[in-house]
Each structure stands twice: as structure tokens, then as C-alpha cells.
């Protein structure tokens, strides 16, 4: 029993790492723009697809190597960064001063567009993501098994989150980002290039989503053009769970959601996995309406 419990915990944390990486993109964009970027799940899909084509064109399909993984990650991040920049420029920036819900609709539009284009360009059939790391169990005690791929994925995810935390807290760009998030108008008056900071935020979020796409290809090697829809929504839930706009909150929210889903499937019923994730979310929201790490803002009269 204890082994199974530990195994489920391992399963949940590895799975939650993916949610966390996607959730970070939602939360950063929300932080600076107060926009739910519904197209973010599709950026994650494009990340996985780019990784697939990059790995094959680098000739990595049959030859796993760490260098290959890094090259694939880099290619996928570059493409997604460019994609996010285009989306921001074309679909969101013209609506900066529009009513708040207008960019939400273009976000849904972009999401639909990428799903449908994806089915035309990549084909609708599921694709097998080539193993970029040779899978073996590095840890086996009794029935508990942890593979090197799971560890690598979790390690990469933690590394990326640490890098993000450093960027946000320690660099000039990070400070500008926090300033825009706090008060965009005041930041602009202080000479912060708001447009560029927003663009940078989108790109940063897309880079993390791209990484999530490649990493998910390693642990769960089946990708298709609609793979971003549900994880995108779940990651948004994770971001809200942690307190949307809050970066450590998104990490914790993602990991927590992964573990909760795994435990619900493992100990209650997989039927209610998705439902219980939402029920818990609602319960937390009602108890603490700003999420686990959100701070309450008192409204000024």
C-alpha cells in the first residue's frame, strides 16, 4: 500500500510539473494584462509539434542524446516565442484600449485558428514523439519505479521555474514586468517601455509552454493538434488555484492539481477525476476567493 501511495505521488508530481509550466504562461500574461490568454494551450501544442519535427529533422528519432534534447528544446522555444510575438502583435495589441472582453474573444479565435490550422498542417492523426532520452528505471524499490525520463522532466521543469523566478525578481526586465503588473500607467510614466515588456512577457510564457510541450512528449509520447485544449484549460485552473497573477502560486497550483487528479483517479474513481478537480477548485475559491497565494485588494470607493 505504501509503495502504491508513493508511486501515485511520483505520478502526480511528474504530471503536475507539466501543468505548472503551462500555468506560468497564463499567470504572467494575466499579471501584466489582466487577460486570460486562451490561445496558450495551443502554443503548448505548437511547442510539442515543433519538437517532433525538429527532433526528426535533426535525425534524433533513433538516437537519444542529451544534446539532442537541448537542441530540440531550443528549436521549439524559438518557434513558440516567435508565434507568441505574432499573436500578441496582431490579435491583442490593437485591442489594448478596447473593452476588457474583446481580447478574450480574439484569444478564443486564435485558439480555434491554431487548432484548425494544426489539423490541416500537421494532420489529425496522433504522432509518436521520438524518445530523446533512453528510458530506464533509475529507482526501483519493490514495486515503486521512477524512470530517468520522469526525473529529467521534473528537473528541467524546476530549473526553468527557478530561471523564471530569477528573471522576474533579479533582472531589469523582471522589475519592469512587476512594475507594469502593478500599475501599467504609472510604469509608463516612469519610462518603462510597456509594449515591449508585454511582448516580452508573452514570449517568456510561450518559451515555458514550448518546454512543457517537448517534456510531455518525453513522458507521454503521443501528440496531436488538439492536445492543447484540455491541458490548457486545466493549467488555467491551476493558475487560478494558486492565485492568478502570482508566479509561485502557478507552480504550486500546477503541482497540486497534478497530484489531486492522480489521487482522485487512484483512490476514488477516474470517472470523477475532472469533476473533482473543479469541485476542489470551487471550494478553494469560495473559502479563499483569490486563490491560495493571491492577495486581497480592497476596493477603493
Amino acid at each position: 500500500m505504501a509503495e502504491d501511495l508513493l508511486q501515485q505521488l511520483v505520478n502526480g508530481v511528474a504530471w503536475g510539473g507539466i501543468y505548472a509550466l503551462i500555468a506560468l504562461g497564463y499567470t504572467m500574461v494575466y499579471g501584466v494584462l489582466k487577460l486570460i490568454n486562451f490561445a496558450h494551450g495551443e502554443v503548448y501544442m505548437v511547442g510539442a509539434m515543433t519538437g517532433y519535427y525538429a527532433a526528426r529533422s535533426f535525425g534524433l528519432a533513433g538516437a537519444p542524446s542529451l544534446l539532442g534534447l537541448v537542441a530540440t528544446l531550443a528549436a521549439s522555444m524559438a518557434v513558440c516565442a516567435l508565434l507568441a510575438a505574432i499573436i500578441e502583435r496582431v490579435a491583442y495589441r490593437p485591442l489594448r484600449s478596447a473593452p476588457r472582453l474583446a481580447p478574450l474573444i480574439t484569444a478564443i479565435g486564435v485558439s480555434l485558428l491554431l487548432q484548425n490550422l494544426g489539423q490541416l498542417v500537421f494532420g489529425a492523426d496522433p504522432k509518436f514523439f521520438p524518445p530523446l532520452l533512453e528510458s530506464r528505471n533509475v529507482f526501483e524499490v519493490g514495486k515503486l519505479s521512477v524512470s530517468n525520463v520522469q526525473l529529467a522532466v521534473l528537473g528541467t521543469a524546476i530549473l526553468l521555474m527557478a530561471a523564471l523566478q530569477w528573471i522576474v525578481m533579479r533582472t531589469r526586465f523582471g522589475r519592469a514586468m512587476r512594475a507594469v503588473s502593478f500599475d501599467a500607467q504609472a510604469a509608463a510614466l516612469m519610462g518603462v517601455p510597456v509594449d515591449r515588456v508585454i511582448l516580452g512577457t508573452f514570449v517568456l510564457g510561450a518559451v515555458l509552454a514550448a518546454a512543457a510541450g517537448v517534456l510531455v512528449g518525453l513522458t507521454n509520447p503521443k501528440i496531436d493538434p488538439l492536445m492543447g485544449v484540455l491541458p490548457g484549460l486545466k493549467a488555467f485552473v491551476a493558475a487560478v488555484l494558486g492565485g492568478i497573477g502570482n508566479i509561485p502560486g502557478a507552480m504550486v497550483g500546477g503541482l497540486l492539481l497534478g497530484v489531486i487528479e492522480t489521487f482522485v483517479s487512484g483512490y476514488l474513481s477516474s470517472t470523477y477525476r475532472d469533476a473533482i478537480a473543479f469541485v476542489l477548485l470551487i471550494a478553494i475559491l469560495l473559502y479563499k476567493p483569490t486563490g491560495l497565494f493571491g492577495t486581497t485588494q480592497t476596493e477603493k470607493v
Binding site: 502504491d4 508511486q7 501515485q8 505520478n11 492523426d125 519505479s145 509520447p221
Partner: protein, 383 residues
Amino acid sequence: MSRRWLVGGIGAIAVVALACGSGREGGAAGPEPIQVGHYASLTGDTATFGQSTDRGLRMKIDEINAAGGVLGRPIEIITEDDRSITEEARSAAQKLLQRDQVVALLGEVASSRSLAAAPEAQRARIPMITPASTNPKVTEVGDYIFRACFIDPFQGAVMAKFARETLGADRVAILFDFKQDYSVGLADFFRKTFEASGGTIVADERYTSGDIEFRAQLTKIRATKPDAIFVPGYYTEVGLIAKQARELGIDVPLLGGDGWDSSKTLEIGGKAVEGNYFSNHYAADSDRPEVVAFVRAYRERWGETPDAMAVLGYDTGGILADAIARAGSTDPEKLRDAIAATRNYPGVSGTISMDENRNARKDAVVMKIRDGAFRYEQTVPAF
């Protein structure tokens, strides 16, 4: 981006779109083609199934047309996409029935979408053949509705018997796709037959199509120590399920249905799907001439190995053409009677006869995955 450019762009798109939407291609020379409608999920979450049936169907029809068509006329397939959406299957079927006035309607893989569209065919009194909807309810809609595949009770029972009698399994776990009626149906009938023959179902776990993470359910199943696991899902998920099961150290055989029949199962599953069994319509490694010719031609034309949906699409086209030829006309009532009278049609998916409930009656085979290929294991006669 300038506003004027945007307005112009949207206007142009709208005009082109509507222009394409109206009007049909003008009359070509030669005899008027027989128009057959096909509604299928070419896009959306089950796009790969609809595309496969359409490919198989088109291949068969092109072969027939190359050989002179039927009744001296070529057959024309009009395919409408339903985006994998239930209500759009109904409107796509209506468009084909009412606007295009097709002589027969073919479609859907998902039983839910066939169930949404079948009443329209029945009302319009146009025969409909579903290539792959396995739910018994579909053909119960009316006397114009037929199917070219197994029904759930048969296939579920086939694998339950195989597990019990051939593998000698006492304890079986089930992991099925909770969102696909096909998978729910197979799981139900497997459960019934297996328990009736004295076996025990030790775990009844679910997943949702599109999932990529099954480790939680599999860890739970591992703890129940089953002799085999029945996974009646589609090839889109089966490969990954097998992979994750093996990673968790589960080494008992996995069993499945015709939803496994695709090269994707082998590609995604790799070594993990070795040694597993599934029921199917036909053995791809068989030396029957229909099978050999079909598999080769399909590979040549589409650059991939046909899956179960492609085979069923191909045979559905064949059954229809055969019936039109025997009916001697495209009159819907005569056509319906001819389809109902189909006996021993030599399809790729077996020798097909329509039973009194308008369901295809054919033998099933059990396949084993060995050395990266599907190998014939045994035949289970229709019952």
C-alpha cells in the same frame, strides 16, 4: 495593420466563401454520376477516424469507377465534415439528403453521431450504412439503417471467451474509454460474458479519449494483481496505455478490440504492445487475395498501412455498389431491399451477410502482436 485592409480582407473572404458555398461544378460529359453522401469527422477530436473511412471509401469507389462504375454510371462521393460534433452530424446528413439528394448515405464511426443522423435518413427513406458504429441501437432506428461492422455484444463476448478459455484468466481488470460509447459497450458486454463464465472483474477503471496520462489508473490496477487487462479503446490511446503499464512493471497481457487496428498502436506502443491480443475483422497478414491487394493498394495511395476504419470504409463502399448493381436501379426502396439481401459479400473485413436486424454478420479473428506486427491467432465464428 490598417483598418481598410482588414475590412477588405474580411469582405473578400466572405465573398469567396459564399461563392464556393453555392453552386456545384458544372456538368461533365458522360453518364450522370450516382451521388452517394458520406458524413464523417474529418476534423475535431476523432478526425483520424473519419479521414480513414473516407480514404478507404474513396479508394473502393475509384476502383469501381475505373472498372466502369455500376449500371453504366460512375459513383460520386460527396463527403461532408461534421467536426466530430453530434448535432453537426445531423445537419451534414440533412445537407446531403435534402440539398444534394444523394441516393444513399454512408457514415459515421461514432455511434452517437450515427444515432443523431440516422433518423433523418429513415425519415427521408434513403438507405444509410454505417461503416463502424457498433452500438446495437443504431440499426434499431429503422429499416433503412444498416451497418458493415460487428456489434458490441459480439465483440465483447469474443474477447471475454478468449480471455477465459484460451488464456485461462480468472481475474481481469478493465480500463475503458468512458467518453466513447464503443468502448463503454465493449466493456459492458465483456464484463457480462466474463462474469457469466465464472471469471472475476477485479478493477473497473476509466479514462477519457485524449488523455495521455494513465499511470494513476494503472497503479491502482497493478495492486489488484489481474491475469489480464481488457482495454477496449482506440489506437489513439492504446499504445500509450501499454507503454505506461510496462513502465509500472505490469507484465500481464492487454486485450482489446478492433479499435486497436492501426499502425499507430505499433508506432506509439513499440515494445510495450508486444504479446498483447485484440479482436479484429480480418487478419492483415492473411493471404486472402482481397486483403493482399487492398493493403498494397492502400499503402501505395496513402503512404500508410490501413487501419480498421479504412477497411470498413472500403467494404461499406463495396457493399453499397454491390447492392446498387443487384437492385438494377437507384430507387431507394429497391436499394434498401438489395442491401438487406446482401449474402456472402467478399469484403476485405471478411465474408459479409446482412442479418434480419440489418447488422453485418461475419467472423471475428483474434490477433496477437508479435515482432512489431499483427499476427493471426485464431478465428471466432459469428454467433
